[in-house]
C-alpha cells in the first residue's frame, strides 16, 4: 500500500517531463498509474472484504507515530473511487488541456492529489491520516488556484485553503485528544476504546474539533461557501476533487470514527443538524444557479449534507444507505461534472440559459448525462435508486421524529431530481442553438462520463456486486457485520418506493414551475451569502489590518525601539516569574562582600564605569566608539581575572574587529546628533538601568544557590579520557556539544549572507548590478 501511495508522489515529478515530450498522450499515460492501482485494489478485494490488509512502517522514534495502512471495506470503496475516477479524470484532463504547455503541471498535481487522497483513506494511524489530510488541502489549494494569473482564482484558492486548513488544525487537536484519551493511535484499535472515549470529559471537545475539521473539509454549513468558489478550477479538478473525492474526506473521517465516537446523542444531534441544514441549503441554492458548475457544486454540498445526516443518524440502515449513496454519488456527480466541462469546451459557455437542444450535436454527451441524471434522480435500474430507497428506509426506521426527518430528506432529494433534469432535459432537449465556434469534443472528453454513467447502470443491474462493496463499507461504518439485500427491481410496493415515486413526481413538477420559485430562492441566497461568507471575508480582511497595527507599534524601523521591546519584554517576564514563583531571596551579606574586593578589581570596575559614563556623555562618534571599546576590553579583563581565558580571548578579538568595523563606517555616518528628547533618554535609562540591575541581582542570587549539578564535574572529568583534550570549553564546543556548534556556524553563515545582501542591495543605488561585484572580483 505504501508503494501505491508513494508511486503517485514520485510519478507526479515525472509528469511534466512526459507532458513535454508527448503532449497529446501524457494524460493517458499518467492515467496508467491510477488504473494500475485500481486493478491492484480489485486484486486485494477478497482480503479487504474479509479480514482486511494491514501494513506498518515505523519511521519515527515517537511513540504512536507510525505510517500504517489498513485496507478494509470502507477504504476499499473509497480507494476504488479515487483510483477509478482518477484514471478517467486524467484521460479527460489530457483531452481537456489539449496538450497545452501547462498541462504537465496539472497532471502532476492531480497525481499528487490522488496519492494524498489514497493515503488519507488507507491510513490507519491518526497522525498519518492528518498528514495526508493536509496534503489534500494543499494540492486542492494549488489546483483551485490553477489560473493563478486571475485575482478571482487566487482569492478562491486562498479561501478554500484557509477554511480547510483551519479546520485541519482543529482536526489535529481533536485527533491528538483522541490519541491521548484512548491511549492508541491506530484507528483500527479505537473502536475497542469507544467506552473510554465516550465517558471521558473530553468527549465533547473531541466531537466539536472533529466537527470543525470534517465540516470545513466536506463543505458543511456554515463552511459550505468555499466549494462553489472552488469552481474557478479547471473542470477535471472540479469533477475529481470537488465532487468525487476530496470533499468526501470529511464524510470519510466521520464514517471511519463513528464506531469509536458515534452512537451518542451529542453525535447524532451535532451531525444530523449540520447535515440537514446543509442538505436543504445546498439543494435549494443549487436550483438558483445559472452556471452549470456552480449548480453542481451546490448540489454536491447538498449531497455531502445528506451523507453527514446519515452518519449522524448512525443506525445500521443509515450506514448502508451512506455507503450506497457514497458510491452512487461519486459516479453520477463525477460524470455530470465531466459533461459540463465537455459542453463548456465545445460551446464556450456553461450558462444554462444559453444552452439547449444539444442532443443533436452531442449525442454521446446526451447519453452520458442521461445515465448519470437518471441515477441522480433515483430512477429504478440505476445505482442511485437503491441508495434513495435505503435513505428513506433509514429515515422511516430511525425511531426518532420519523416524519420530520423523512420530510426534510424528501425536500432535499426533490432538489436533486430538479438538478438532474437541468443537466439533461434542459440543455439537451428542444430546438438546437447555433454557436459560433462550436466543435464537437473528442473521445477523450466523453470516455470518462460515459464509463461512469454506464457503471451507475451496471451497479444497478448487478445488485450482488453493489451489495458486497457497499456492505463491506457499511460494516466498517457501523462497526458490526452488515449484509445488504438489493434487487434489480422492487418486487413489492413499500413505503420507500412510494416516497421515491413522490420525490420524482415532485421534482418534475418543481422543474416545470421553477421560475415561480425565484423570489424565495433569492431571499435564501442573500441570507446564505451575507452570513458565513461575509463573516469569513471580514475576518480575513481584518487580520492584516490588525497585524499592521501591531507591527507598526512594535517594529517602527528604529533600532532602539526594537531593543526596547526585547529588553522590556524580557525584563517583565523575568520579574514576573521571580515575583510570582517566589524565587530565592537576595543574599543578606551583599555589602559585606564588597569589602572582599581587591584593589586591582576595584580599579577595573572604576575603568568600566568611567567608560560607561563617557559613552553617555559622548559628543562625537569617535569618542563613543572608543568609550565603548573601554567597556568591552574592561569586561574582557574581568574574564581573565576570573578564569575564563577562552572567553577573554574571543572578547578581545571581537572588540578589535568591532573597532575596525566602526572605523570603516565611521565617516560615512552623519555627525553625532542627539535625536531623543530628554524624556525618551530618561525612559531608556530607566529601562536599561533596571535591566542591568535585575541581571546583576539574578547572578548574585543564582551563584548564591549551591549548584548541585553533576554536569560541571562530569565535563571536567570526562574531557580528557573521552574528548582527548584538556581545554574543557573547547572539548564541549567541538565534541560533546558539536551538533550545537554546527547549528551555530550554519546560522552564522546565513547571517553573513543576509548582511551582505543588506549592504549590497540598497534600493535606488543600482544595487542589483553591484550584488555580483563581490563574487566577480574574487
Amino acid at each position: 500500500m505504501l508503494n501505491a501511495v508513494l508511486a503517485g508522489f514520485v510519478l507526479a515529478f515525472a509528469a511534466p517531463q512526459v507532458a513535454r515530450h508527448l503532449p497529446r498522450q501524457a494524460g493517458t499515460i499518467a492515467a496508467l498509474l491510477p488504473a494500475g492501482i485500481f486493478v491492484w485494489l480489485l486484486n486485494q478485494a477478497e482480503m479487504a472484504l474479509g479480514p482486511g490488509v494491514v501494513e506498518r512502517w515505523p519511521w519515527s522514534p515517537l511513540p504512536g507515530v507510525t505510517l500504517s495502512f489498513h485496507l478494509d471495506g470502507l477504504s476499499l470503496l473509497m480507494a476504488l473511487i479515487i483510483s477509478g475516477v482518477g484514471a478517467l479524470i486524467l484521460i479527460y484532463a489530457g483531452a481537456y488541456m489539449q496538450g497545452q504547455a501547462q498541462a504537465g503541471r496539472l497532471y502532476a498535481l492531480l497525481l499528487a492529489f490522488m496519492a494524498s487522497m489514497l493515503g488519507l483513506v488507507l491510513a490507519d494511524n491518526l497522525i498519518a491520516l492528518f498528514i495526508f489530510w493536509e496534503l489534500t488541502s494543499i494540492t486542492s489549494f494549488l489546483l483551485i488556484g490553477w489560473h493563478y494569473q486571475e485575482e478571482r482564482s487566487r482569492a478562491a484558492a486562498l479561501q478554500a485553503l484557509i477554511v480547510t486548513g483551519g479546520g485541519g488544525l482543529a482536526l489535529l487537536a481533536g485527533l491528538v485528544l483522541i490519541g491521548l484519551v484512548s491511549g492508541t493511535w491506530e484507528i483500527a484499535g479505537l473502536a475497542a476504546q469507544a467506552g473510554t472515549l465516550q465517558d471521558s470529559g473530553l468527549y465533547l471537545p473531541i466531537l466539536l474539533l472533529l466537527w470543525l475539521g470534517a465540516a470545513s473539509k466536506s463543505a458543511q454549513f456554515p463552511f459550505h461557501f468555499w466549494l462553489p468558489g472552488a469552481m474557478v478550477a479547471p473542470t477535471p479538478v472540479s469533477a475529481y476533487l470537488h465532487s468525487a473525492t476530496m470533499v468526501k474526506a470529511g464524510v470519510y473521517l466521520l464514517a471511519r470514527l463513528s464506531p469509536a465516537l458515534g452512537g451518542t446523542q451529542e453525535w447524532s444531534l451535532l451531525f444530523m443538524v449540520t447535515g440537514l441544514v446543509t442538505l436543504l441549503l445546498g439543494g435549494w441554492l443549487s436550483l438558483k444557479q445559472d452556471d452549470m458548475k456552480r449548480m453542481l457544486a451546490y448540489s454536491t454540498v447538498s449531497s455531502l449534507g445528506l451523507l453527514v445526516t446519515l452518519l449522524g443518524l448512525g443506525t445500521k440502515l443509515a450506514a448502508e444507505a451512506a455507503a450506497l449513496y457514497l458510491l452512487a454519488h461519486a459516479l453520477f456527480k463525477g460524470a455530470l461534472f465531466m459533461v459540463a466541462g465537455a459542453i463548456d469546451h465545445a460551446s464556450g459557455t456553461r450558462d444554462l440559459r444559453r444552452l439547449r437542444g444539444l442532443a443533436g450535436a452531442l449525442p454521446t454527451g446526451a447519453l452520458a448525462a442521461g445515465l448519470a441524471g437518471l441515477s441522480m434522480a433515483g430512477i429504478p435500474l440505476l445505482a442511485g435508486f437503491a441508495a434513495k430507497e435505503f435513505i428513506y428506509e433509514a429515515a422511516l426506521f430511525s425511531g426518532g421524529s420519523v416524519w420530520l426527518l423523512t420530510l426534510l430528506l424528501l425536500a432535499g432529494n426533490v432538489a436533486f431530481v430538479v438538478v438532474a433534469q437541468q443537466m439533461t432535459l434542459r440543455i439537451f432537449s428542444g430546438a438546437s442553438l447555433r454557436f459560433e465556434h462550436f466543435h464537437a469534443p473528442g473521445v477523450g472528453l466523453w470516455a470518462g462520463p460515459l464509463v461512469l454513467g454506464a457503471l451507475g447502470l451496471a451497479l444497478g443491474l448487478l445488485p450482488e456486486v453493489t451489495a458486497t462493496l457497499a456492505g463491506a463499507a457499511a460494516r466498517a461504518i457501523y462497526g458490526a457485520p452488515v449484509t445488504i439485500h438489493l434487487f434489480v427491481l422492487p418486487d413489492s410496493v413499500t413505503p420507500m418506493l412510494l416516497l421515491s415515486a413522490l420525490t420524482i413526481v415532485a421534482g418534475i413538477l418543481l422543474y416545470r414551475r421553477r421560475t415561480k420559485l425565484e423570489p424565495w430562492l433569492n431571499w435564501l441566497d442573500q441570507g446564505a451569502r451575507l452570513g458565513p461568507e461575509n463573516a469569513f471575508r471580514r475576518l480575513v480582511g481584518g487580520l492584516p489590518r490588525f497585524a499592521e497595527r501591531v507591527t507598526d507599534m512594535q517594529q517602527n524601523g528604529r533600532l532602539r525601539s526594537y531593543v526596547m521591546w526585547v529588553v522590556g519584554a524580557w525584563l517583565l517576564l523575568l520579574a514576573l516569574t521571580w515575583l510570582l514563583r517566589g524565587g530565592p531571596g537576595v543574599p543578606s551579606d551583599l555589602l559585606a562582600r564588597l569589602a572582599d574586593l581587591r584593589f586591582h578589581e576595584l580599579v577595573l570596575v572604576v575603568v568600566i564605569l568611567a567608560g560607561l559614563a563617557s559613552v553617555m556623555q559622548a559628543n562625537t562618534l569617535l569618542t563613543l566608539i572608543v568609550s565603548l571599546g573601554v567597556v568591552g576590553f574592561g569586561t574582557a579583563i574581568v574574564f581573565i581575572l576570573f578564569g575564563a581565558p577562552d572567553l577573554a580571548m574571543t572578547q578581545f578579538s571581537i572588540e578589535t574587529l568591532g573597532v575596525i568595523l566602526f572605523v570603516l563606517v565611521l565617516y560615512r555616518l552623519p555627525g553625532m546628533v542627539r535625536l531623543s528628547p530628554r524624556r525618551t533618554v530618561l525612559r531608556d535609562s530607566v529601562v536599561t538601568g533596571l535591566a542591568g540591575a535585575v541581571v546583576t541581582l539574578m547572578i548574585l542570587v543564582i551563584t548564591d544557590v549551591p549548584l548541585v549539578s553533576p554536569l560541571k564535574t562530569w565535563f571536567a572529568d570526562a574531557s580528557e579520557p573521552l574528548g582527548h583534550g584538556h581545554n574543557v570549553v573547547n572539548v564541549i564546543l567541538v565534541d560533546f556539544r558539536g551538533f550545537d556548534t554546527m547549528g551555530e556556524i550554519t546560522v552564522l553563515g546565513i547571517a553573513a549572507i543576509g548582511i551582505f545582501a543588506l549592504l549590497k542591495l540598497r534600493p535606488g543605488r543600482g544595487g542589483e548590478s553591484k550584488a555580483g561585484d563581490g563574487e566577480g572580483r574574487t
Binding site: P645, D646, M649, T650, S653, I654, T656, L657, I660, L661, L664, V665, R668, G723, H724, G725, H726, N727, V729, N730, V731, L733, V734, D735, G738, F739, T741, M742, I745, T746, L748, G749, A751, A752, I753, I755, F756, L759, K760, D773, G774, E775, R777, T778
Partner: protein, 141 residues
Amino acid sequence: MTSIILVVATRLIFPLMLMFSLFLLLRGHDAPGGGFVGGLMAASAFALFAFATSVTRARDALRRSTFRLIGVGLLFAFISGLPGLFAGSPFLTAMWTSAEVPVIGKLSSVLLFDTGVLLVVVGVTLTIVFAMAEADEEEEE
C-alpha cells in the same frame, strides 16, 4: 589614505597573525584557543591587510570568495561527523587516530570540525568587513 607605516607593519604582522591563528587552532584542544578565536584572528589579519592596501588586494590574497570559505567550512564540519556514523555511533561522534603527526598532534575528526569552524568564522567576518569597506571605497571614487 594609505600610510607607509601601516603598510610596512602589516607586511610584518600579517604572516605572524595567520601563524598565530593556526597556533590557536592547533593548541585549542588542550589550552585556551580553538577554531572560533583562531578564525577571528585570521579575519583580523585580512581586515588589517585590506586597510593597508585595498579590499581588492585583500580579496586576492584570500584567493577564495568569502562565501566559499563559509561553504567549505560547513562542509568540513559536516564531513567530520561522518566517520562516527560509519563506525556505528551517532553523527558527529569524535573519532581519533593513534597516528601522531609532528606539530599537529593526534589526527582526529575533531580537528577537522574545528577547522570548519575557523573557516566559517573567517568567511563570515570577512564577508561583512569587505562588504562594508567596499561600500566605503566606492564612496571615495
